[in-house]
């Protein structure tokens, strides 16, 4: 499904701010893999997702999604293959447009946008059901501007948007990090439901190691732009948070451990 070969990305090359965010990284995902990604601040997790999404082009290496080489493909074209939810709830939706209009935008991902109506009556009805499935009571506020919703509600809508057109690859960048624990749990539950329902190949970054262990069939740990640990299946299920912490200390040395890694 996903084949990443030897990709590298350096920001501000040749200056004192030079920073290699991704360092000769290779990575393969099978169809239906649900991979959780952990790593300290600045490890390159978001950079990996941005590289896949085409936020910028990589300096070296190649990215192939389901047989299509997307290495040089601009972000908006790649979007046809990808669903994305960002950490910042403000980022995934158009605040001045209605819930229904946002969903309609997402329903046309990867399609030519012409002079047909931006949203049809039948479509709006189908969204009512879809939104009702979130269990947030938003189905009665379908035309409300998304800007009026809470962060959790917006993330839930973004999640729907990213999967409305079944993506070949779903990219979740700490999409529950900005939410309160209860809402975060709810959004994560919805994520699992949608991923299972549509059998989606998923890459999910999280700073919560319990979540990283409890979700998905595979776990990778990143450090300095490299994947330093990759477990799957039973081995992953047997993992304990303490194992991961130990791993972190091995690579980073306890001194540079970020507070975020210490679990509450």
């Amino acid at each position: 499904m996903l084949d990443v070969k030897n990709i590298s990305k350096t920001f501000y090359p040749g200056t004192i701010n030079e920073k290699t965010a991704i360092d000769n990284l290779s990575f393969h995902m099978d169809d239906g893999d649900f991979v959780t990604v952990i790593g300290g601040n600045g490890a390159g997790k978001s950079s990996l997702l941005n590289a896949l999404a085409g936020t910028w082009l990589v300096d070296e290496g190649s990215i192939v999604i389901d047989g299509t080489d997307v290495t040089k493909m601009p972000e908006h074209k790649r979007a046809a293959f990808l669903g994305r939810v960002f950490q910042d709830p403000m980022l995934g939706t158009a605040a001045t447009m209605g819930i229904d209009e946002n969903l309609a935008l997402a329903a046309r991902r990867g399609k030519l946008r012409g002079l047909k109506p931006g949203i049809s009556k039948a479509e709006r009805e189908s969204y009512r059901e879809l939104v009702a499935s979130l269990g947030l009571g938003l189905e009665d506020r379908l035309t409300a501007k998304v800007g009026l919703l809470s962060g959790g509600q917006r993330q839930a809508i973004t999640l729907l948007m990213s999967t409305l057109q079944r993506p070949k690859l779903l990219l979740l960048d700490e999409h529950t990090a900005a939410l309160d624990p209860k809402t975060a749990a709810k959004v994560l539950e919805t994520t699992n439901r949608i991923v299972n329902e549509h059998h989606l190949t998923t890459l999910m970054i999280t700073h919560n190691m319990k979540d990283a262990i409890a979700n998905g069939n595979r776990l990778i740990m990143m450090s300095n732009g490299k994947i330093i640990y990759d477990v799957r299946g039973e081995e992953k299920q047997r993992l304990q948070v303490t194992d991961l912490l130990k791993k972190f200390e091995e690579v980073a040395g306890s001194s540079s451990m970020s507070d975020k890694l210490i679990l509450g």
Partner: protein, 306 residues
């Protein structure tokens, strides 16, 4: 007072024509979130093209159409400067605007070209604001232009393409993630906007009876004034997109009526542009002041790389 009432129809007609222009500004400034200064040039180009074509004997409608197309071309240039050459929005607009000064001079051959309302079939004219049959009345004709344009734009911004334009202005990150070509959309928006401004310019030149190299100077400020007046007065009651555009046109009319009142009260007309600039500056500052002094807003950083 009598002088004011006498001048009122003219002020309304001017307000409608500039209201049309302000719709163009609304599309870039409000919908696309792109402060486009090209319009100071386009607000002359449209008139120059239209007057020159009519002087050469072309049909008035053909002249209007060509003026609009040339305006769209100006928008295209600004769009290319911004999207393909990475120049910031304001500077892209200024560069095109400057270039248009030369273009406008070349189109007209000199700095001013007059057209006689008695010899040419002008659609609007300051001579036709009073005592005319309704269908030839300039106020009616200008209002009709505004209404037809609003209807077209209302339809367009409800289409798939139009929705993607609105999304582009609102949240470019999300738009790209949803497969929208934001660069192309910015170019399309700039073309639509400048086409509208050039159309308004063509009408304005007919109304005045001449095209002049300076007729676009400060156009962006007048356009913004109309947008802001219209938005501030009607934002609570006009939620629908078509009504929002209508509010902008009414904003243009209010601007010109107030301007006329100020003139009639004996205000030094040399200072009018300064007055406009001050008023627009204050209105632009209001949302900023509200945010900084009256509310605590939580902002999150690291959007793109978080």
């Amino acid at each position: 007072m009598f002088a004011f009432i006498n001048a009122l129809p003219g002020a309304v007609a001017q307000g409608l024509i500039w209201g049309l222009m302000a719709i163009g500004v609304y599309i870039t400034y409000k919908v696309l979130d792109f402060a486009d200064l090209t319009v100071d040039g386009t607000m002359c180009t449209g008139g120059a093209v239209c007057i020159m074509m009519m002087l050469k004997g072309h049909n008035v409608w053909v002249s209007l159409l060509v003026a609009t197309l040339v305006g769209m071309l100006a928008g295209l240039i600004t769009g290319i400067l911004h999207t393909l050459m990475g120049i910031p929005p304001i500077l892209s607009g200024i560069l095109t605007q400057l270039a248009l000064y030369s273009v406008n001079l070349k189109i007209m051959g000199k700095s001013n070209q007059a057209i006689n309302v008695d010899k040419y079939p002008l659609l609007v004219s300051l001579r036709n604001v009073k005592k005319m049959p309704i269908f030839q009345n300039t106020i009616f004709v200008s209002a009709l232009f505004c209404i037809v344009l609003i209807a077209i734009l209302y339809w367009f911004f409800g289409t798939e393409l139009g929705c993607s334009l609105r999304a582009t202005g609102c949240n470019p990150n999300m738009s790209r993630a949803q497969g929208i070509n934001t660069k192309r959309n910015i170019v399309i928006g700039l073309m639509i906007s400048n086409g509208i401004v050039a159309l308004a310019s063509a009408l304005n030149a007919q109304y005045l009876g001449f095209a002049d190299i300076n007729m676009g100077r400060g156009a962006i400020v007048i356009g913004l004034a109309a947008v802001i007046i219209g938005t501030v007065i009607f934002e609570k009651i006009f939620k629908n997109f078509a009504l929002k555009l209508l509010a902008v046109v009414i904003g243009g009319v209010i601007y010109y009526v107030v301007l006329q009142a100020v003139i009639c009260m004996g205000f030094d007309s040399d200072l009018l542009k300064m007055l406009s600039a001050v008023v627009v500056a204050i209105f632009l500052a209001i949302p900023y002041w509200k945010q900084h002094f009256f509310a605590k807003k939580v902002t999150k950083g690291g959007a793109e790389n978080a």
